[in-house]
Every structure is written in C-alpha cells, then in structure tokens.
Symmetry: C2
Subunit: 263 residues, 2 copies
C-alpha cells in the first residue's frame, strides 16, 4: 500500500521543502519507491531537485485543472519526472497559483488532489507532498489526500505560536473529510543547540506536544550545507553524505520504515 504524507506548516521558512526532498531521498536510499509532489506555487521543491521550473510544459497546475474539468487531458502520470536522486517528481511553478481560484469555484474543491492521486495507488511505496506556507486550498487538498502529516517546526517562539491553529485545522479535516488522517510526527528543524533560547524552546516544545502528538527522535540541526545543496539540485545525502543533517534525515526515514505495516 502507498503511504501518503504531506509536509505542512503555515509558518514560513521552517524547512518544509528541505524536509520533503531530503526525507524522500533518504527513503529512496533505503530502497523505497518514492514520489515527491510540489504543491507550492513558489516551486521550491522543483528548484531544489534541480529543475528549471519555468521551463515546464506540464505541471501540477495542469493536473489539478484537468481533474476539475474532468477532461483527463493531463493525468498525474504524464508529468512525472525521474530526478538524479532516484526520487520521482511531480513539479510545480507559479502557474499553480492560478489553480487556487479554480479549486475555490469547483464543487468539492477540497478533494481534487485526492482524486488525481487515485491512479498512483500501489505504484509507489511513499508519496510526499510539499505545501505552501499557508492553510489555503492547496494545503487543504494535501491534508484531504494524505494519510499522515509531517510538521517541520523551527525551534523558535513565533513558529511555535502557529501550532495550535495547525492542529485545529488538521482535526477539522479529519472530522469532515479524511477520517483516518493522523499526525505522523513533528520534526524539529534548524536547531542550534549552542544557544540557550533554542534549547529552552526545544525542551518546552517536546513537553507541550508530548501528550498530543509524536515528536520524531532525531532533530535536524542548523547546517549551512542545507542552504548550499539546493544550488546544485542535490539532496543532502549526496551533497554532504556524512554530515549530521544527512544522518538525521536517514534516521527519520528509518523511523517511518519501522512503522510500516502498523498504519
């Protein structure tokens, strides 16, 4: 069975795209077949994976709009690209911003991605969806289509403030449209354990969340190699293969693999 994750946090710049790519690459390194879907009109995932997003003939925009119009002109399988990391990519660019308007007007606009993903069932072991920094219709589509949510959380005060709203939104989607939706885990990112502020926030995050939701054991430390890797379109697993952050993403992938069959 295909496990579908979406990577969500409405707070900007917390490591959603970085986590989607590097976790997908780590699962691939462990022999899994992985599809990564870019659902952010900024196209950061597509860019990070080495693509020139502006040169795309077809992208997620065309898949969603053709699903809405039911003309099946551009099914998801027609836009899949094999990338250097071995992860298959469904790319996006700024055109995707135009899909939000169409989703808003469509009947059951929240379920368009879920419908478009149907034919992918069984073709991959994992599907990871990168979301934009808001809780708009694209993110709602991802939450309605996936089985589990991964929440990258930067260890700082402003990012923590948004957690309540995010958890409420996930519960609402679970109640209304996606009954088996669960939070796969919170992943602490960009952590700098040298500063007291970071250590304090990480400690209070783990305590505040520990009753509600799983917090992944590995922490992703701040490491400038993660800023450099997107420039060359490589995952951290090849760009800095023995770094602490490459190993941390491998450890997260191992945690996911260990819970296979349980879900």
């Amino acid at each position: 069975r295909t496990r579908i994750f979406c990577v969500v946090n409405q707070k900007g710049g917390v490591g959603k795209t970085t986590t989607t790519f590097n976790l997908a690459a780590a699962l691939r390194e462990m022999g899994r077949d992985v599809l990564a879907i870019d659902l952010d009109p900024q196209g950061s995932l597509s860019t990070s994976m080495g693509l020139d997003a502006d040169s795309l003939q077809h992208s997620m925009f065309h898949v969603l709009t053709s699903t809405i119009r039911e003309d099946d002109a551009v099914p998801l399988r027609d836009i899949l690209l094999m990338t250097e990391s071995g992860v298959v990519l469904a790319a996006a660019n700024i055109e995707l911003a135009g899909a939000e308007l169409e989703l808003a007007r469509a009947t059951m606009g929240e379920l368009v991605l879920r419908e478009a993903l149907q034919p992918m069932s069984g073709l991959f072991d994992y599907i990871l969806i990168d979301c934009p920094p808001n809780l708009g219709l694209l993110t709602i589509n991802a939450l309605s289509a996936c089985h589990e949510v991964i929440i990258p959380l930067q260890a700082d005060y402003l990012a923590m403030k948004g957690m309540d709203l995010l958890m409420q939104t996930i519960s609402m989607i679970k109640r209304k449209v996606n009954y088996n939706l669960i939070v796969g885990g919170v992943l602490i990112t960009m952590a700098d354990l040298r500063t007291l502020h970071n250590r304090e926030v990480i400690e209070s995050t783990k305590q505040a969340l520990s009753n509600q939701v799983h917090v992944f054991e590995p922490i992703i430390h701040f490491n400038v190699r993660l800023k450099e890797a997107p420039v060359v379109g490589e995952s951290i697993l090849t760009y800095a293969k023995t770094s602490n952050v490459a190993d941390a993403y491998r450890a997260v992938a191992r945690e996911l693999i260990q819970s296979e069959g349980l879900r």
Copy 2:
C-alpha cells in the same frame, strides 16, 4: 505627508515581521509617529509586539470587512493600540484569513485597504504594513495602498529564486493601480558572513539587483537575540540595545529619514 511602506516577500521566514517591528521602533526612537499594520492572518507582528492576538475584540479583519460593506462599523482608528515601544499597532489574528474570501468577492477588492487608510493620512509620519508569505489578495491590497515597498531578502539560494516573480508582481500593480509605487529598497537579512555560501550569495545579490533596485547599505546579521525578543514582546532596540542588529535597524531608519522630502 504620511509615507506608507509595505514589507513584502512571498518566501517564508525571511524576516518580514522582524523588519516591520524593528524598523518601526527605530523610526519611533528617532521621533517619528509610526503606525504598524499587521496584514498577516498568522498575527506574528501583533504577537511580536506583545499582544495576545486571540483576545482582540476588533482587528484588521473587522476594518476590511466593514470597508467592503460600507457600513463604517469599524474604522481603522477604532482598533489602534499604543504599544510599549511607542509604535501604534493595528493588530490581526486568524480571523483575517476570512477577509480574503470577502476581498475576492468584493468589487475592486484590491483597493479596500487603500480606502481604509485614507482617514489616516497626515496622522502619522510612517505607516508600515507587514504582509503574509504569499502574493494573495492581502498582499495585493498592501501593494496597492502603499507608496514604497521594502523587500527583506534572506541571503540564500531559494529565497533569491522568488525575486523575479516579486518584481513582476510589483510592476503589474504599478501599471494597473498604483502608478507611483516604487521599491524603497532590498534589505539583506539573517546574513551569516562566517560562511562562504552566504558571502557569495550576498555578493551576487548585490550585483544582480544593483541596476534594478536600491539595496540598503546596512545588512541585518543573523543574531539569536532577534529570536528571543518576540518572546517578551520587545523590539530589539530595547531588548538588546547595543547589539549589531539594533544598530543595523537604526541605520536603515536613518536612510529612510534621509530620503524624506525626496519622495
């Protein structure tokens, strides 16, 4: 005359909120009357300025919707709050996400904020508007209402990729609805000059942009005190008054003051 700035970048986590608050506080420290407007449903600016955004009776949501309905029930002056830093705040919380739908349905939905700001003309020397991490209707409202745009830019590859789109969006607003709109400047944020990657990106940013747009002389370095200050609702000017980042925001304020009367 009141100078109205909006602080915009669709890339998340680049320092929009931090810049809005600390630049407003620095202008205030130099004797200017300043209004800061939170136009992000995350309410990060309101939170950073010490407010409990969920306890608001009236906020920017009510101002925008009462302007759309023309019932003048909640004019902007009714929601202004004086904060500890001396900067006046028009706060926001998640309710503001509901205004996006009303703006989408309204006639001339792009000009609602501009109309709501009319009565403020002359009451303040500066108005600074914090925007959400997207180019949706709230940001379009801010770009249509302001005179100048400040673009915080984190010195990294993914953040740089979004600059073309941002400049195109600004040009489109200038052509269609806000003929005198200019880019006040690009402010390089969260810079860590210890790493080669950052130094290279800063250098190439300055070169790439130098013909198109003004890049502020001061650079805002990475400094953990800027993560700590929002926890206590203080600006960096009081929380770490002699720090390099407090001085950098003062230097940006001085640059703005020096160009008074020129615009």
